[in-house]
Symmetry: D2
Subunit: 253 residues, 4 copies
């Protein structure tokens, strides 16, 4: 029987500014990538997201990012790899305090925004993230793009690599995502997205933009929750998976 | 036989800006109040200070402060007590990551600057700091001013309260410090400061500004290291304690 | 014939985080208190708000605040008065660059949040804000609470003091606002608020919570735009003023 | 008769952290690149540096940088060009407030650190800096590397381009600097540096690392002041220029 994890970026509010509907999403997903305060998130948000995640049996991961509130971590910052490693370690420890107080712990790491992209091909950045994870807790998993430097180095370092897929993004024949700037890169029809999610979970396949069928060996599907429509899409995905008899569980279970 | 701890604020550099001579001080003190990144300190500084502290068998404490780099944590910030508690918990977790990677752990909490002063008489602020410490690790000690709300609430919550004294500050008859703005509030003669430190450690007494002898029941003496002269004073204090046969050990041992 | 100004806090988004509907509000108000980047606002938001304000013939004022993004400027920060003065001057210059590029200029200053409250009774804080305004541009107006230290010192320093009223807040007999923590402190019925605005503009009076009629000699009415309901209330206020034949113009015209 | 300008990065302290000896340097240089608060500098530092600069008849320029205190502006940040333009405009306005209060005004722009390097070859970054300068004040000069995109675009936009040289850096035959990572990239002998400064000012030449003589058509020489040795080198440079009868004046005069 098939099983899949649903992960989402959460805890991205900051002070007075709200982003996304964490409570609604935490009823739908099974893994929460919680922002750690460098590109988003503040201490009280970390606390409340961790508490609700635990109440919903959602697994907590560290959504680590560049120190860049103004750019929401979406700007590449050319940090020295040792400083990047230390920035990741700092974020891991900070979030874990809240995860532990909530009765859980940080179970995995997933880089955010520009750091996510930097660790796809950037060996130095991937190494920095992995090094921080290894020294903090060798039992951490690492969630990221299939074939990325990040997952390769995680595996080489003894961390569990967890590849993810996107049900709402168009794929190229080579398994990469169609860049957001292209027409049709992002799907918006809940039924279509839900159907792709089911196929990804059950058959590990998706139809690429050229019509070919490609294999995407993902153990988690990333969903977004920062708009009202996104919550509805996530609900459609979750319902479709449930109805298809696919077990929706944290990958780390 | 007498014993005393020497504590000092360390790890207060930030990025390109250096403050204090952490390496020199870590050869002299036994407890390091390490800044956690909110009022001073950056991830790579946290790492290096923790590593050197462990190499010198110096105990690591969290020098928690207000989120105020521009004011170095010396400005009172009227934070909601729950937000203050969460800010303290965040700092505890972040520093502990580096302490643990260095092979140790955070053993105590000491508020910095305006937060230190706020927790002397401020019940809400003291409660916030203590609450974060209790939920993070009930075996943490709390270092602060004798008779402060902070130490009273720490004790009431089951944390070990550790009162400290200042060998380089003039005392009032009631045991409080002469405010810095008064003449003679801060002593500068290394020999005199060292002699006061020995008397504080051996006899728990000091001569107040009115000439009276007062009891200061401190288990740690706070020394400063952010100027060249301060390092020399600390060396004089350490030498005098050693020569007097007073054991200089972390209070937490 | 009566005339009144409508002012509102705008430009309070930061990076990816949106707050309020600046475009809708700039069609309704006549003075924009634009956040300057210390407690809210980022450079690109400053640019766009100034541009839209100028297009709508809305007067631009500097909504100066404490350096406190995490607290949205709502936390009192015990800054040295000279540092506060310099922080205000910095914000004035930064915003004015965008106002001038948009074809206008900063015409007034209004403190935000905790700084607004600090300058009601705090002579040192009021003096700091006024000193920065005087040295930046002696033709600046200062918008604030009637009877505040801020307006008194503005007048004493040769700046134009502009008292404001709140159509959606309950008043005490002595002319102060009922604290937000009290029941009935904030009104929510658009029709009632609009009627109070018309009476404030036309007769300079409002009914206090004890039923007495009090004089509120305001030249501007502050309205809020950070919720959908708030925009509708502002629209009701504006329509009522227009229908009553009251001229709605910037106070600085 | 020959004339030259001496420029230096100043105002780079932040809060409690001091960097460089601004007062000593302002007796030696003729143009001050004043940090504007994004990568270094705080409002009160801006005020004091501008005041001392004016007292010493030193010209004030805006040392604009990336919003990166933690990295001192030395990390490339991949900002959207419009956001970069707005960040530069913000800094210009903020600094100019202090320059004007001191009785002067911002006369030129010089990017700092990673932004300086990005604008050598990066057309988009150079365009962003120049666009902000043009819209703020078309009479601004732009100080930078000879042959850089920055100076080319400044000239194309009607701003005065001012090329600078480094008396303490080794040059390649093509006029570029030897990278800092190479042996011999940075000179340290005050007499040698002073002699090169005189030759640069009087003859617009310098000997490259391969022994060839190259032309460096600079109107300003950049000197550093962030170490004690650096101040002494600057003093040697200034004395040598004075003794050689070379007029040392702001380029903008």
């Amino acid at each position: 029987m098939s099983a899949i994890d649903l992960n989402s970026d959460l805890g991205e509010s900051f002070g007075v500014w709200r982003l996304g509907d964490d409570e609604a999403m935490l009823e739908l997903v099974t893994s929460a990538n919680v922002a750690c305060g460098f590109h988003a998130g503040d201490p009280s948000t970390l606390r409340s997201v961790c508490a609700v995640a635990v109440a919903n049996h959602v697994c907590i991961g560290a959504q680590v990012g560049y120190p860049d509130l103004a750019g929401f971590g979406r700007r590449y910052v050319d940090m020295d790899p040792r400083e990047l490693r230390d920035a990741v370690l700092y974020q891991l420890g900070a979030l874990d305090a809240f995860a532990q107080v909530a009765g859980s712990e940080v179970a995995y790491v997933k880089p955010h925004g520009a750091l996510y992209h930097a660790t796809i091909d950037g060996a130095a950045q991937a190494e920095a993230v992995v090094a921080a994870a290894v020294e903090y807790d060798p039992s951490l998993a690492v969630l990221g793009a299939p074939g990325s430097q990040l997952l390769e180095q995680a595996e080489a370092s003894g961390l569990e690599p967890v590849p993810e897929a996107f049900a709402d993004r168009a794929y190229l024949r080579d398994g990469r995502l169609v860049p957001r700037s292209h027409d049709g890169a992002v799907l918006s029809d809940p039924a279509e997205i839900a159907a792709r999610a089911v196929r990804l979970a059950a058959e590990h396949e998706v139809t690429a933009v050229d019509g070919s069928t490609i294999v995407v060996a993902a153990r988690s599907i990333c969903v977004h929750g920062d708009t009202k429509g996104a919550v509805e899409i996530t609900r459609a995905v979750r319902d479709a998976l449930d109805n298809a008899g696919i077990g929706v569980h944290p990958f780390s279970v």
